[in-house]
């Protein structure tokens, strides 16, 4: 039993922290929120240059063979700074599926992901399916030459994607296919999210898919989806843990500097205990994170159950910590120009993603 990070892992954290501290200023970030892509392409290049985009890929695919522990470190640090860059959609979700598939051409796509030259989004959610990735209304018909029809919703980072990994049912089997953004018959609607990210709705109308664009089929495809979603759920939870830590630290700092009744408001015990509660929530979630990331790392049977526990708790605690942080910042907490309200919006988005806390509580109980 050992819940201490290795020296290498601590170094990785320091490296990410150093970068975010010097290059991820909140006001600078604000400028990119309103661009078309919603993030800074120069930073994405820097991520690539530092090797971060290669982290979780297998060495055969040109990666570093890093696993869920290192990714959790990365996302925890990203969460502290509300990093916008589309690591989750490209590297965690699409990257995981490609890297673990038997797709012939996977290295072509992976090398462009790693270099940062191309982006790939995973399109798996559909209308009114309540987080169920298996029962699909998108269909693939035909044998050698396939035809794709249907609609995908809430495709993360969709507007910036060059390709989409799309799930669809083919004779009652699941298939994952890769589709170019300029394919005939694909129409895209783009949206902004509450937390300033970009998502898309994809409509496929008789889109023809060549057989060599099938990434995975059947049980393998289902398992890839299950594990990719579990991985993504772990990463956004790690991000929420980082955000919670920032929230209580920023709140402590703010209450120490804000004076009312002739003294810093941090002198008031009501506020102190609320901040202690924020700290405790954050630490308890961190403990669940450690348990989950090691379960995923060790590939234990319990990995889905512990991630469900983590995500359920992060959904509740994130919102609570975010709401308390806003409350203790007073009017400043609801000002768009302050970072604190942006954390709350991110907590809400994270809770909604991959199943909210209610969904994961049930999943935890049923597994």
């Amino acid at each position: 039993m050992n819940l201490n990070f290795s020296d290498e892992q601590n170094l990785l954290r320091e490296q990410i922290q150093k970068f975010c501290n010097s290059d991820y200023d909140f006001y600078d970030r604000e400028n990119f929120i309103n661009t078309e892509s919603g993030f800074d392409s120069e930073k994405w290049k820097l991520f690539a240059e530092q090797g971060w985009l290669a982290m979780p890929f297998k060495s055969d695919s040109g990666g570093f063979d890093f696993g869920p522990i290192e990714l959790s470190i990365l996302f925890e640090e990203f969460g502290k700074f509300l990093v916008l860059e589309p690591y989750l959609s490209n590297i965690v979700l699409s990257g995981f599926i490609l890297d673990n598939s038997n797709f012939d051409k996977k290295n072509e796509y992976i090398s462009k992901l790693i270099s940062g030259d191309e982006q790939i989004s995973l399109a798996y959610m559909e209308h009114n399916r309540n987080y169920d990735y298996k029962n699909l209304s998108c269909t693939l018909d035909g044998d050698d030459s396939l035809v794709l029809n249907g609609t995908k919703n809430l495709v993360l980072n969709g507007p910036n994607a060059d390709h989409f990994l799309v799930t669809a049912s083919h004779n009652d089997d699941m298939k994952i296919v890769i589709i170019d953004k300029n394919t005939k018959g694909l129409s895209v609607n783009n949206f902004k999210t509450v937390d300033d990210r970009r998502i898309s709705q994809l409509n496929f109308e008789n889109v023809s898919v060549e057989a060599d664009h099938v990434v995975s089929s059947g049980d393998e495809a289902e398992l890839l989806m299950k594990d990719a979603i579990n991985y993504g759920t772990l990463c956004v939870s790690a991000e929420a843990v980082g955000s919670m830590e920032s929230c209580y630290l920023k709140t402590v700092e703010y209450t120490k500097s804000r004076e009312q009744f002739g003294q810093p408001i941090s002198n008031f015990q009501v506020l102190q205990h609320k901040m202690v509660d924020m700290f405790i929530e954050s630490e308890l979630c961190k403990s669940l994170l450690y348990k989950s990331m090691i379960d995923v790392h060790e590939n234990n049977d319990s990995k889905y159950r512990s991630v469900a526990a983590l995500k359920s708790q992060v959904g509740i605690s994130g919102k609570k910590v975010g709401e308390d942080a806003v409350q203790l910042h007073g009017g400043m907490g609801v000002s768009e120009e302050m970072s604190i309200g942006h954390y709350l919006k991110r907590f809400i988005a994270i809770d909604s993603q991959f199943g909210n806390s209610h969904f994961h509580l049930k999943k935890f109980n049923n597994s």
């Binding site: 039993m1 961190k286 403990s287």
Partner: protein, 393 residues
């Protein structure tokens, strides 16, 4: 990082399990299982079984007769006891005064008191709180005055202590007493060991809302205590008391015992088919998992040579909240059978009301467990500690 314990630790765990299967007194186990109250003899028998095994000093160094176990072994030991439903170890000797004596006491005191603690031949109780001094412990007023009679030094003790757990069973009491009122309130406090058979001591029961006699008032009227019973230096008692509190906090989370109660509650809620209760129990299971891994994180830090500080107050706060939550959900599961009250004096009838077995002590446990967020430094005090030492406000 890895989740499983080492092969050596797992071997140790099996040794603890085999001890519990074979040497944990059966008559005690049965009473605990049936939710029946334990007598003083039951509690002594349970502790003696540990003494006979050489495990009473489970958290002591070898040189004082302890096991010399690693933090991981201590954790496993406590966890297994909790999982097996063993009665809580009486902490006053082995976890409280013992470590104070071997750390700050002189050789004569070590020789005189430590063996009896390890054999559970002496029952200790704790003389800290006073009617006017609860959370503000340093304001205590029980006075000890040094006098010389026939060439021998004595302290004459006057005052009272309260909430003294199981003082009715105790042979000795360790007390914080005031030996000086002139300076800062923390600086005039001394740590004194007092024989409960001394003339001038009176123990009066306090009956708590569960109907039980667990705590007492202890009154001291001109009690004559030999000066050799002073631990360390006069006026340094506050330092020793703080040391003791830090010693007490680890293991206070009670994860093993809570897990055992949770498992039973899971079965009950599923049998009842109450979806609302099932969801509440699931949430509690996640809370316990979070607490368990918080404790393991602190344990890992400790094993890695670190020194977990005020963070361990989380264990007290969350551990006790969970213990209370468990009893709340048992009461909820009991439904209308929560009201027939089977406290220490029975139901006022020679038959039991015909509710399910688990309803019998649901409410008495609920009422009894209100204490846990109050004692050992109330949870509000714990939050003050985190606020000051972790958040720095």
């Amino acid at each position: 990082m890895e989740l499983s314990f080492s092969a050596k630790d797992l071997e140790f765990r099996d040794e603890v399990r085999s001890f519990l299967a074979n040497e944990y007194p059966k008559h005690v186990a049965e009473k605990v299982e049936n939710g029946e109250p334990l007598t003083k003899d039951d509690i002594v028998d349970w502790h003696k079984s540990l003494s006979n095994k050489g495990w009473m000093g489970y958290n002591w160094p070898v040189e004082y007769g302890g096991t010399g176990w690693t933090p991981a072994q201590i954790y496993i030991f406590q966890n297994e006891l909790g999982l097996a439903g063993c009665p809580t170890l009486i902490p006053f000797g082995v976890s409280m005064v013992g470590p104070v004596i071997y750390t700050f006491g002189n050789q004569e005191q070590k020789d005189r008191f430590l063996p009896d603690i390890l054999n559970f031949d002496t029952w200790w109780c704790q003389g800290y709180s006073e009617p006017g001094s609860g959370s503000d412990l340093a304001s205590l007023k029980t006075k000890a005055e040094l006098v010389n009679e026939d060439g021998k030094d004595f302290y004459i003790v006057n005052g009272s202590k309260t909430w003294t757990t199981l003082a009715q069973n105790a042979d000795w009491i360790f007390c914080l007493v005031r030996t000086d009122s002139s300076g800062k309130k923390q600086e005039g406090i001394s740590f004194l060991l007092i024989d409960m058979n001394s003339p001038g001591i009176e123990v009066k029961p306090i009956i708590t809302i569960d109907g039980d006699h667990e705590v007492n008032s202890v009154f001291f009227t001109d009690v004559k205590v030999p000066a050799e019973n002073l631990i360390g230096e006069e006026g340094k008692g506050w330092t020793y008391a703080k040391f003791l509190l830090a010693h007490e906090r680890f293991g206070i989370a009670g994860v093993g015992a809570s897990k055992r109660q949770l498992e039973r509650l899971k079965e009950i809620s599923k049998d009842l088919g109450d979806e609302d209760l099932i969801a509440k129990v699931s949430q509690l299971e996640i809370d316990i998992m979070a607490l368990e891994f918080t404790e393991l994180r602190l344990l890992s830090a400790l094993e890695g040579g670190g020194n977990p500080g005020a963070e361990s107050s989380i264990l007290k706060i969350k551990g006790t909240e969970i213990q209370q939550r468990l009893t709340e959900l048992y009461v909820e599961a009991a439904g209308e059978f929560a009201i027939p009250y089977g406290g220490p004096d029975g139901y006022g009838s020679n038959v039991k009301p015909n509710g399910p077995e688990y309803t019998n002590d649901a409410l008495s446990k609920y009422l009894n467990m209100r204490k846990v967020t109050i004692y050992g430094g109330s949870n509000e005090i714990q939050k003050n500690i985190i606020s000051k030492f972790v958040l720095g406000v």
